[in-house]
Amino acid sequence: MHAFPLQSDWAFVLGSLDLLFEGLVVTVALTAASIALGFLLGFPAGAVEVYGRGPLASIVETAGVVLRGTPLLVIIIILFFVVSVSSSAFVTAAVALGLRSGAYQSQIFRGALQSVDEGQLEAARSVGMGRLQAIRHVVVPQALRRSVPGFQNEFTIVLKDTSIAIVIGLGELLTVGQNLYQGGQSTAALEIFLTVSLIYFVLTFTTNRTLDYVDDHFTIPGGEQA
């Protein structure tokens, strides 16, 4: 077998932490922007899929199927080179991730809305609330709580998938890492990848724990179901 091909160069990685941090900031900003856009698209889309009918519902469903069926890599490339939504790599990546996340968030919210017992809606209607009122005051508050675990998953996925923005050269964490070992100063590729992975891991782990905490905080005492 060949000698282990990668030379160990942790000092280089340590010296480059400030650069990695800049990449991290881009990663976090991109995640936040994409999740927010995804929520703005996904929540109404989920509601339309549950309560909507007619052409709007089928348009939303079809768009969801297409977005969920296409690899993010392809979506990003198409948005950047074919449709050219923006000359900014950041905006393009945020739109691509946001659209796709919206398609998935719509499913999370749809599932959560549907899991609220039919009787809740009936009970709300039978004290005289209108349909929208009943959805707004009774179904949505319960559904949002139930969607926390799915949302947590989605958050993790988006955070990690920001790394795919490397294909349009966005200077996020992984791109910065790649540039480091491709700069001719050091070939510490493994060290860089391990470091970058560790940073991602810490990010996902802490966000998940935070969201767990949020989940606990909003949990209705004694369980979810009446």
Partner: protein, 237 residues
């Protein structure tokens, strides 16, 4: 200038490159540096245009980025060839390079010509001349099976895989090969004369800008700047 560069000024241009191609362009301490970078800046200084900023892409994304007005000029060690010329235009050549065939230093595989490569696993960087050489001279000629060719997003990964033993040779631009040979346990087995030239890539319709770059380039080459930059970036040879 043409669209997307983002410069509000008519004469501001945005340049695109693909770092990871030392010594032509790479990132050091977060800064974009290299021969192409210095050269294009010097050339543009000679014109009435100003360079607003640099944008970074993967190499293969540069041409679509140019045609989509994301950038106005490509400076990325890009070889002038017919296929590219159908899509974009090039300035006059600013550097001549051949392809080097790089193998493991301690390995027993030491090819002397392209035909020796047949039956071996070969790598190159996606979208580069090296890839075209493998494609046109070997695969299309039937001496190399398609499945024996690996294409990489970047030279560094190709050389990594060469050291790993997954491929037996990498086809790569000569100056870059020399940089690697100096740093890694790899060596240049032979060079393949393509007589290829690097040029800056520009949009087909931007004739005015192309002419400006050409005269700027001539000015830089006539003065001492070009020689200074060659010494700075290829000095160790």
């Amino acid at each position: 200038m043409g669209g997307g560069g983002g410069g509000s000024d008519e004469n501001e241009v945005v340049a695109g490159t693909a770092p990871g191609f030392p010594p032509f362009e790479m990132k050091q301490d977060g800064e974009l540096v290299g021969f192409d970078i210095d050269l294009l800046e010097a050339v543009i200084d000679e014109t009435e245009y100003t360079l607003a900023s640099w944008k970074e892409f993967e190499f293969k994304s540069l041409i679509p980025a140019l045609t989509n007005d994301n950038i106005d000029v490509v400076a990325a060690g890009m070889t002038i060839n017919d296929e590219r010329d159908q899509t974009i235009d090039f300035t006059d050549p600013y550097y001549s390079s051949n392809q080097a065939i790089v193998v493991r230093a301690e390995g027993d595989f030491s090819p002397g010509s392209l035909s020796d490569l047949s039956g071996h696993a070969i790598g190159a960087q996606k979208g580069t001349t090296g890839e075209s050489v493998v494609q046109e001279q070997l695969i299309d000629g039937g001496s190399l099976d398609e499945s024996n060719y690996n294409s990489y997003g970047n030279y560094v990964l190709a050389v990594e895989d060469l050291q790993n033993g997954n491929i037996d040779a990498v086809v790569i631009d000569q100056p870059v090969a020399e940089t690697f040979a100096a740093q890694r346990p790899v060596t240049i087995a032979f060079t393949y004369e393509t007589g290829e030239n690097f040029g800056f890539g520009v949009r087909e319709e931007d004739d005015e800008f192309t002419q400006a770059l050409n005269s700027g380039l001539a000015a830089v080459q006539d003065g001492s700047t070009y020689q200074d930059l060659t010494n700075k970036w290829f000095g160790q040879q």
